[in-house]
Symmetry: C2
């Protein structure tokens, strides 16, 4: 007799937590909750945790750990078109995380508070014998009814992404010492993309009213596109050759084309993935130009269900999904 296979995080959430969700929780399918705020507004609530050795590397600089912790949450607010307001912080720290670590960690928080105009609202600090476990509950505001959900895509909509894809997943490999056969500057760029996500708050806010569905890419482009289409009750296709790559990622792919699976399947991009009707193309181009941030059309939403990734010859590509997810 063998033990039954462990349910993955998707199945665990669907089975044990989704039945507990209330109004505002969006069925736990949108990574955020919405509650009424002052007249004309809603609050967007989001929580995300990171564990030492799982989501960040033990020797990552504490300042950057703090910034990553905040930014992965701000990225979810961006993906709803919300403006960030503040956050609650919970730290479970082992004795190895001493005052020197905390000093650098709090400096990282302070730097990003200034950068994003947010403040610490409260929190909890506890001791643990295990790895450091850090969680943030972030709060943002959005005009009432204007939050962009995952579930709003329509058949025929064009699929867009901001920035470049796959840098962080390649950066993890580089940070772990894997030889990618690229230059030092390119390697540093990729590692920085892993350690310091750039939440696309300006873009997200301007896409409210323009995008039909939106989310940030944290589990990997392939998996997250699947989440968005499933939430919308539709299917879709992405043309891999159109997925925007940084020069560093292009160099890594040139050395080993099999790394495409890492680019499309790896997580931690924290770029925005959104859908919009074809008529919005001109407005999206203007937005991209105004913000100095690339926005690239990479596919389309289709009737039916399931998503496909196609290579330049139109053949299906299979990528492995990341082993964890958020709800």
């Amino acid at each position: 007799v063998t033990a039954p296979p462990r349910l993955d995080e998707f199945a665990r959430i669907a089975r044990f937590f989704a039945p507990l969700a209330g109004v505002g929780a969006l069925g736990l399918r949108d990574d955020v909750a919405l509650i009424d705020g002052p007249p004309g507004t809603q609050y967007v609530l989001k929580t995300d945790a990171i564990v030492e050795g799982v989501h960040y590397l033990p020797d990552d600089p504490p300042m950057q750990v703090a910034q990553k912790l905040l930014r992965v949450n701000l990225s979810d607010l961006a993906a709803k078109g919300a403006a960030p307001l503040g956050y609650l912080l919970t730290t479970a720290l082992p004795p190895s995380h001493d005052e020197a670590w905390l000093e650098q960690f709090s400096k990282g928080l302070a730097a990003d508070q200034a950068a994003y105009g947010i403040f610490l609202l409260g929190g909890d600090t506890v001791m643990t014998p295990g790895p450091a476990t850090l969680s943030v509950a972030a709060i943002g505001t959005v005009a009432a009814g204007r939050a962009v959900l995952r579930s709003g895509a329509r058949a025929g909509d064009i699929v867009h992404v901001s920035g470049t894809i796959g840098d962080a997943a390649l950066g993890v490999l580089a940070a772990k010492g894997q030889e990618l056969g690229i230059g030092a500057a390119e390697k540093a760029f990729l590692v920085d993309r892993f350690r310091l996500p750039q939440p696309r708050l300006n873009l997200g806010a301007r896409l409210a009213g323009l995008a039909s569905a939106m989310m940030d890419i944290s589990d990997g482009l392939a998996a997250d596109f699947g989440h968005l289409c499933a939430a919308s009750g539709l299917g879709g296709v992405i043309e891999a050759a159109r997925v925007p790559l940084s020069p560093a990622a292009q160099a890594a792919l040139a050395r080993d084309p099999a790394r495409l699976a890492t680019v499309l399947g790896g997580g931690d991009d924290y770029e925005l993935l959104f859908t919009a009707p074809a008529e919005a193309a001109e407005k999206i181009r203007a937005l991209s130009a105004g913000l100095g941030l690339p926005i690239t059309a990479i596919g389309r939403v289709e009737p039916g269900e399931g998503v496909r990734l196609l290579d330049a010859a139109g053949r299906a590509i299979t990528v492995e999904a990341a082993g964890y997810r958020h709800f």
Copy 2:
């Protein structure tokens, strides 16, 4: 050369986190934050984490772990006079926490959602190689300007507590197998008081407008009375002989009077500690009678600073503070 002593949690919060606090965070001294809600209301935000082996015992029933996790947060909402609305849940679970554990854990959440009229709003679920780390961010509502803060006590106010004190601290000893020299029923009562706090939501809501300052007792009566008086810029005194004890705690104290230090210094009571002017005595008596919940006057707020615990002969009692706290 020896390492500098590790700062305790108070000092860590004051040094590293308090400078990051914004409007609504109440200087991180009130265990909650306040943000504006729909007209006439404010939201009360609170987060509290528990770690396996630190805040609960590995063999505690998962249903009760879930209930304790929710209730320690609801208790903080109660202490502000707020009504609970919902919560975000973050779970970092090791492989040992299998589906059977999760099934019982989610049953505990469901039971308390029904009991307290709250819903899951969202969350995050991650894997950890370390002990289970569970955190909740709870959200409640209170009429605007009516939240009862820690900082509102005035010299001459009477200090009150709800229920009985010290049961949970004695219950921890009993759960760990320490021989208290009491009967099985008394022991079961004390362990239950440790495992299943009773957030005093009805009492808290009715004390808004009546209590001058309020908090729940989580770090122990002695330490938390110190927090309340410090937040109010005052001092105070508690007469130990007036502190209300359950029959089980009385039995344990009769066997070993030195356990008074555990009763006054141990944590996890989750009763309400509040101050009110002497003129409120009649209303408080009526409240207590109406709710069927003992409320006992145990001391008074005084000018100056620092708090004293006095025995029946008027001699100062020293108790050791709990080794952790929340902010």
